[in-house]
């Protein structure tokens, strides 16, 4: 028998009290860890995906929408631009690399992206097996797409018009054939079906005529700058002198993250307020426990326990509460992340890493323990004023 065991037994002998005093702590820890992970992983995910693209050029409209659709593949495009206009930009000395992308169809909700093979270089995507597309209607699959759609090399499928699964119109006479599957990259490429620009044009060319170079369109052009000056000059030139618009992904995404950040910060503040209140609730519950057990504490003094040992006893109980509260809260936070991850996987093809602990989670653990220690010490100060004689001679 020792103090640790005694404080543990005291705690579990009244499980309902323990659970009640832990509720708020669990809630706040769950909220804080969940929001910390969510915001840092969303930010990391976004940064990783926009990094290869310095500039997006597309039809006029919302620049954020252009970035979301053409770089992150989660929104509808703003419209199309003429291929010949895009080609002109390509020749600029400010442009190191440019990749045209084109949308139009989906297969079971997965977007079919028409582009050139150097799109894959932007994300360092390599073939796991098969070959790259060389003819019209050949496709390579992102790793997640291949698993999700259960498609192998040589399989064929018919695409549906539009970007969402709901579309009923199928292109019956233009089956796509899988010629390659990509290795996992951890980027948007994993969730795409990638084909040549010609495939997209062919699918939508119902008249069966030859392509007129003049009329060919793409959704947008992804650009890497050749030098930092381009960041100032190129967007201005495109926005002022052409009927296209240029959007800087880093700028747009930063704006988006900042907007979301206000929400995240608000939730964090609420969670921290709950954490403080949970400290108060632990304080009150320990105070109540001390009051209920004052005869037991007085008894321990007659056994030869010092006031300091009684303080330890209460402190240990508080630490148990704090630690259990943190662990359970952390688990709930991860559970929330897992739920969101499953949802995001289905809707956007994003997944969240469940294991990576951040340094903020360690700081939160110390903050939690500090608050419980403070609450326990404040609650247990009364053990120094315990009137043993009076408590033990009064009627029960």
């Amino acid at each position: 028998m020792n103090l640790v065991k005694l404080s543990y037994k005291n705690l579990v002998s009244k499980p309902l009290n323990a659970v009640l005093s832990l509720l708020l702590l669990v809630l706040s820890v769950a909220l804080v860890t969940f929001m910390l992970q969510l915001s840092s992983q969303v930010k990391g995910n976004l940064d990783k995906n926009i990094k290869p693209v310095d500039l997006v050029v597309g039809a006029k409209g919302s620049p954020l929408q252009l970035v979301l659709s053409s770089v992150l593949h989660i929104d509808a495009p703003t419209g199309n631009i003429k291929l010949k206009d895009a080609e002109k930009l390509r020749k600029s000395r400010l442009v190191k690399a440019a990749v045209p992308v084109s949308y139009g169809d989906n297969y079971k909700g997965v977007r079919i992206l028409g582009t050139e093979t150097n799109y894959l270089k932007l994300y360092n995507a390599e073939l796991a097996n098969g070959t790259l597309f060389s003819k019209s209607h050949q496709v390579v699959l992102g790793s997640t797409t291949a698993k999700k759609l259960n498609l192998k090399l040589g399989d064929t499928f018919l695409s549906s018009h539009g970007l969402a699964d709901q579309s009923l119109e199928e292109h019956h006479d233009h089956p796509f054939k899988v010629v390659g599957v990509l290795k996992q990259t951890g980027s948007v490429v994993d969730n795409l079906i990638i084909t040549s620009l010609e495939s997209i044009w062919d699918v939508h060319n119902h008249s069966g005529e030859e392509h007129h170079e003049e009329d060919l369109e793409v959704t947008s052009l992804l650009i890497q700058f050749s030098n930092p000056m381009a960041m100032v000059q190129l967007p201005r030139y495109i926005n002022d002198k052409t009927n296209m618009q240029a959007a800087l992904p880093s700028l747009e995404i930063n704006r988006l993250v900042k907007l979301l950040g206000v929400g995240v910060q608000t939730i964090q503040l609420i969670a921290l307020a709950i954490l403080l209140v949970s400290g108060l609730s632990i304080f009150i519950s320990l105070l109540k426990a001390i009051r209920e057990r004052r005869q037991e504490l007085a008894l321990l003094r007659t056994y030869g326990a010092t006031s300091g040992q009684l303080l330890w006893l209460v402190l240990l109980e508080g630490l148990f509460l704090g630690f259990i509260g943190y662990v359970v809260g952390w688990l709930f936070g991860r559970l929330g992340l897992w739920v969101i991850s499953t949802y995001a996987q289905n809707s956007y093809g994003y997944t969240f890493n469940l294991t990576t602990p951040t340094k903020w989670e360690a700081i939160l653990l110390f903050a939690t323990l500090a608050i419980t220690v403070l609450a326990s010490v404040l609650a247990s100060l009364s053990v120094f004023k315990l009137n043993v004689s009076k408590i033990l001679s009064s009627e029960k």
Binding site: N10, T302, G304, S307
Partner: protein, 208 residues
């Protein structure tokens, strides 16, 4: 050995007591008698250092309690004294066995399973060792509080109405056991009681 001299205590409420001097040699037993309100329990709390002495001295063995710091007094009480209180108190979250083990833990972190079993057997609570104390009958509780007071082999045993809730048979058993334990370790035994059954079992009486 217990010795008091000109012991006086006043409560903040104004009630005050002057106690006759007590002088017990090693191994002596004493029965403290007297009507309610004469300060029997107060005297016991003074002798065990649970109440601070207003004036006078208490000496247990070679130690004068007045001279001890609060912390030393706690440790001294834990080592030298076994106290049976008028109301029985236990740690309710623990089993009978754990309550006994906890008494051994203070103040010297002792462990002695054999002693726990032996004492429990003699007091007839061996079968209850693994039960929670709230599951005990009144008589079992009383015997447990006696076991707790004895487990440390104290030099002084204080008992405040130890037989109040016991039947004749158990009353005699308990008093015999207390006397036996006290004699075994030549400990002083000081009992406060109203119980006439106990009165006849002791020679040495003190009326307050």
């Amino acid at each position: 050995m217990i010795k008091t001299s000109k012991l006086h205590f006043s409560y903040t409420t104004g009630t005050s007591f002057n106690f006759p001097d007590i002088s017990l040699a090693e191994g002596d037993h004493l029965l403290l008698l007297g009507p309610s309100g004469v300060g029997k329990t107060t005297l016991l709390h003074l002798l065990s250092g649970l109440l601070p002495i207003t004036s006078g001295t208490v000496t247990i063995g070679n130690t004068e309690l007045n001279n001890l710091s609060r912390k030393k007094l706690d440790a001294f009480r834990g080592r030298q004294m076994g106290i049976i209180f008028q109301n029985d108190y236990f740690i309710n979250a623990l089993t009978v066995k754990e309550n006994l083990a906890l008494r051994l833990y203070f103040p010297d972190k002792l462990k002695d399973n054999a002693r726990i079993k032996e004492l429990a057997k003699r007091l007839g609570i061996f079968d209850q060792l693994d039960k929670k104390v709230i599951a005990l009958s009144e008589g079992q509780r009383q015997r447990l509080s006696i076991a707790i007071a004895l487990i440390n082999k104290p030099n002084v045993i204080f008992a405040d109405e130890p037989t109040a809730s016991l039947d004749d048979e158990n009353c005699e058993k308990v008093i015999t056991l207390l006397k036996e334990e006290a004699s075994n370790s030549t400990a002083n035994l000081l009992i406060i009681t109203h119980d006439l059954r106990v009165k006849t079992m002791f020679k040495n009486h003190l009326y307050l």
